[in-house]
């Protein structure tokens, strides 16, 4: 029923969602930490700016990202000056796009989880001889597991469904940037509804099962 391009798109989508989730959690953790514990007067502003990717329509955000990542853009031009290639229409490019697009979904739940935890457990861990980093890993991470689960699932699912930004900066190149959401969208636009239904159902089924397992493993409060 499904064709080779569909399988390719599924694999690419899972790869994109996974890579985005991992990188984003790594990047968002220190940022969320700073937001939770700083008393800098810039905190409110930084937090507001982190939320910005939400406010623009994805295609418009994608347009501006394309500007930045393309050869004339700040990032693209820098890369080309260093002998590299600009990032538009590449897997790396859509990873960057997805990261920026989903940034608030990672940062906000983590910030709230860190706040709720407070400094005390870390201080106790340090008094027991743990380094900052080790205390973070062995104490803060597990204690804020709920926040990480929320952040990871929101980012993962959001990247699965993301398509405006990816379409814009990715260009729908099969095997490189043509993710499942773009494919499903294309099917609906081409009025090829049965293909769209099949892919949508498959996507939902996989996502429900994965998420039900993730969520089901956590006991009730």
């Amino acid at each position: 029923m499904l064709q080779a391009t569909d399988y390719q798109a599924i694999a690419l989508t899972l790869q994109l969602a996974t890579v985005t989730t991992v990188i984003l959690l790594v990047l968002a953790t220190p940022l969320a930490w700073w937001l939770a514990f700083t008393s800098s007067r810039w905190r409110g502003w930084v937090q507001a700016i982190v939320a910005m990717p939400l406010v623009l329509p994805p295609t418009v955000l994608g347009f501006y990202l394309l500007l930045a990542l393309g050869p004339n853009g700040f990032i693209g031009a820098s890369l080309e000056a260093l002998g590299g290639r600009h990032l538009a229409f590449s897997f790396a490019g859509i990873v960057i796009g997805s990261i920026i697009y989903s940034l608030p979904f990672a940062v906000q739940p983590l910030t709230e989880a860190f706040r709720a935890m407070g400094r005390r457990p870390l201080q106790v861990a340090e008094s027991l001889g743990a380094s900052r980093w080790h205390a973070l890993r062995t104490i803060a991470l597990p204690l804020c597991r709920g926040g990480f689960v929320v952040a990871a699932t929101l980012v993962f699912a959001h990247t699965l469904g993301e398509f405006g930004v990816i379409l814009m900066i990715g260009g729908s190149i099969p095997g490189e940037t043509q993710v499942l959401s773009v494919l499903i969208y294309d099917h609906t636009e081409a009025l090829n509804y049965s293909a769209a239904h099949a892919l949508s159902l498959g996507l939902i089924a996989v996502a429900v099962v994965v998420l039900a397992i993730v969520y089901g493993r956590r006991p009730a409060a």
């Binding site: 295609t59 347009f63 004339n72 538009a88 260009g171 729908s172 636009e189 081409a190």
Partner: protein, 234 residues
């Protein structure tokens, strides 16, 4: 004032705004709202109760489909023809050279966008598959193809003549593609028109000389020969 709801393919936004202004001046008793919708969405929306009275599409086949389901009053009427061009902001030379040198060639998604279909047809006719296949980057529609060239991410792109005119590009920045198929732009009235006489007025206005003039300034052709050619090929 009575409101006329019109759904328009987004590639026709430029001329449609002009036509609307003219129409509202002529008929101040009517208020025209325009929704810019891609053709695929248009079909889905009209099928599921959209309040549009007049549909303007860059994809007559989609209107035919609606007519076949008895969702329009009559078969679609072609109001003009769009033309595909190749936008190459920095490159000069023959089409072959330009495509050869390009890293990325932007076009609309051929699966559902007529300008994309035309572009792909053009490439297939003039080039071996491996000369262009891995350069193609697809957009949702012809506007997204234009964005990519505009911001420099794609070196060149297949876009509509109307777009390069709207952007006021120098003629050296784009090349006409005489061998590419022309793209009929069509209109149709829905059953909602029965409660709204203004839609019929606007429909007529779009076929009138004033509208045809506006379409022409945006690069759409309206020769009887073209119309004849389209009908014959159908």
């Amino acid at each position: 004032r009575e409101t006329i709801h019109v759904a328009v393919a987004s590639s026709l936004r430029g001329p449609l705004e002009e036509i609307r202004n003219q129409f509202e001046q002529r008929h101040p008793e009517y208020h025209v709202t325009v929704a810019y919708v891609a053709s695929g969405k248009l079909v889905a929306q009209v099928t599921h109760g959209a309040p549009y009275q007049l549909l303007v599409s860059a994809e007559p086949r989609y209107l035919d489909m609606l007519h076949a389901r008895d969702l329009t009053l009559a078969a679609p009427m072609v109001i003009g023809y769009g033309e595909l061009v190749l936008w190459h902001p920095d490159q000069a030379g023959t089409i072959e050279q330009i495509i050869e040198q390009a890293d990325f060639v932007a076009l609309a998604q051929p699966k559902h966008a007529p300008y994309g279909q035309a572009a792909l047809a053009y490439l297939q006719r003039h080039f071996a598959h491996d000369r262009y296949a891995d350069k193609l980057v697809y957009g949702d529609n012809v506007a997204q193809a234009a964005h990519r060239v505009h911001v420099g991410a794609a070196d060149v792109g297949f876009v509509a003549l109307s777009q390069v005119l709207e952007l006021g590009l120098l003629s050296s920045a784009y090349t006409h593609l005489p061998t590419a198929p022309r793209l009929p732009q069509a209109i149709a009235l829905t059953h909602q028109t029965k409660q709204n006489r203004g839609a019929q007025l606007l429909y007529d206005f779009m076929l009138a000389a004033e509208s045809q003039q506006i379409l022409a300034t945006f690069g759409y052709q309206s020769t009887a020969a073209q119309e004849f050619a389209h009908v014959a090929s159908d």
